[in-house]
Amino acid sequence: MALGGLGFLMFILVALNILAAAASLALFAVAIWVAVDGYKLYAISAVSGKDDIFAAAWIAIFTGFAFFLTCLFGIYAALKRSRNLMLVYLIIMFIIFIFECASAITAATNRDYLVGNSNLVKKQMLQFYTEDSSNGKRITDTWNRVMQEGKCCGADGPTDWLTFDSTYKTNFPKSFPWPENCCEKLSNSEVKNPTSCQTGGQALFKKGCFQHIEWVLSNYTWAVSWYGFAVLMFVFFMLLLAMVYYVQLD
């Protein structure tokens, strides 16, 4: 290839590496957002042993930053027109590519297990809510917060507490048919209208919480998996171009 063509290819490669570096940094930031879990729903995935969405986020933190550094190295290798450096760049990028693929696929698969339907979340709630164990405490705290903040009750609705048996009913047989956090509360944490709450009146939150939980976990998944996929597709074509550039170098 003429020197002019090679120079143009080098320019394109440098530009693509700059874009890839920026995109990778964004992946790094988004993965941190997922790992931080601002909605505090980690307990729901951890107790079920299906917390791979967060594991994938941790992988994406490292691969995002690794992509960023390697792209900077790629810019240097392209400007130097060095075959050896380009080969090292390609090998390192390929290794990071594989890890990031694992992260994207893991997040998407794990989401299907967790929130493909409401059964897992519902069963976990019925089993662990008010259970006297470390898992029970985590689930109880999480559900109490979710029900009050989301103004919801149960996974699919308050009837979950009627249709199925539960640890809550076993531990509190004489209490309300559903947890107190299913009802409006005053600022001092007392139920606003205990009679209306107990009989399923206006004080009871009638929508289920699964929609909110599914929305949060899906957002986490799409952040890691779809954005990771987008970065990978961009890097894929950039690496193909880098291979062409490598072949053209003396």
Binding site: D112, G116, K123, L162
Partner: protein, 162 residues
């Protein structure tokens, strides 16, 4: 005249003159449900006729002899929306057919037959993988192909440079 009064009297026996019993209607009475796994939500007797009076709600499992009762007071008529909508009869067995009736003074309502809700064990909920989503399949297939293409390209490069 006496015959007419006699006929009217047989048609309108005193023991169910105005006292009736029913479950609350979730759609009309703004409650979630009138049937629970351990009880019922019963409509109070008419507050105009019985407001302030003490009464009993009697119940028994159908085809058994044991009759149980609980005392209550019929609330006075009120427009307060926070007032109880109905009488909660609980501590019953789940999935069981009961006969329930009111007694206020000498008046007894007709019995109401209703079943409490059956309860399913939560351990029977199937929490396995429901289905693989399209997104997961697409991502997996495309990335697997991309990895294969890159690997093939890298091996070719190493051969060429060798």
């Amino acid at each position: 005249m006496l015959a007419v009064l006699f006929i009217l009297g047989t048609l309108c026996p005193l023991n169910n003159a105005a006292l009736d019993i029913s479950l609350l209607d979730p759609q009309l009475d703004d409650v979630l449900t009138a049937k629970f796994s351990d009880g019922f939500l019963l409509r109070f007797p008419n507050c105009t006729s019985y407001g302030g009076q003490d009464g009993q709600v009697l119940y028994q499992i159908i085809k058994t002899d044991e009759k149980l009762s609980e005392n209550f007071t019929v609330p006075n008529c009120t427009s307060d929306k926070q007032a109880p909508r109905g009488l909660l009869l609980n501590k019953l067995q789940n999935g069981t057919l009961y006969s329930v009736w009111y007694k206020i003074g000498e008046e007894i309502s007709l019995p109401l037959n209703s079943s409490t809700l059956p309860v399913t064990k939560f351990s029977e909920i199937n929490d396995g993988l429901p289905a693989r989503s399209g997104a997961m399949v697409v991502i997996t297939v495309i990335l697997a192909l991309a990895m294969a293409v890159l690997l093939a390209g890298l091996i070719s490069l190493i051969f060429i440079s060798g």
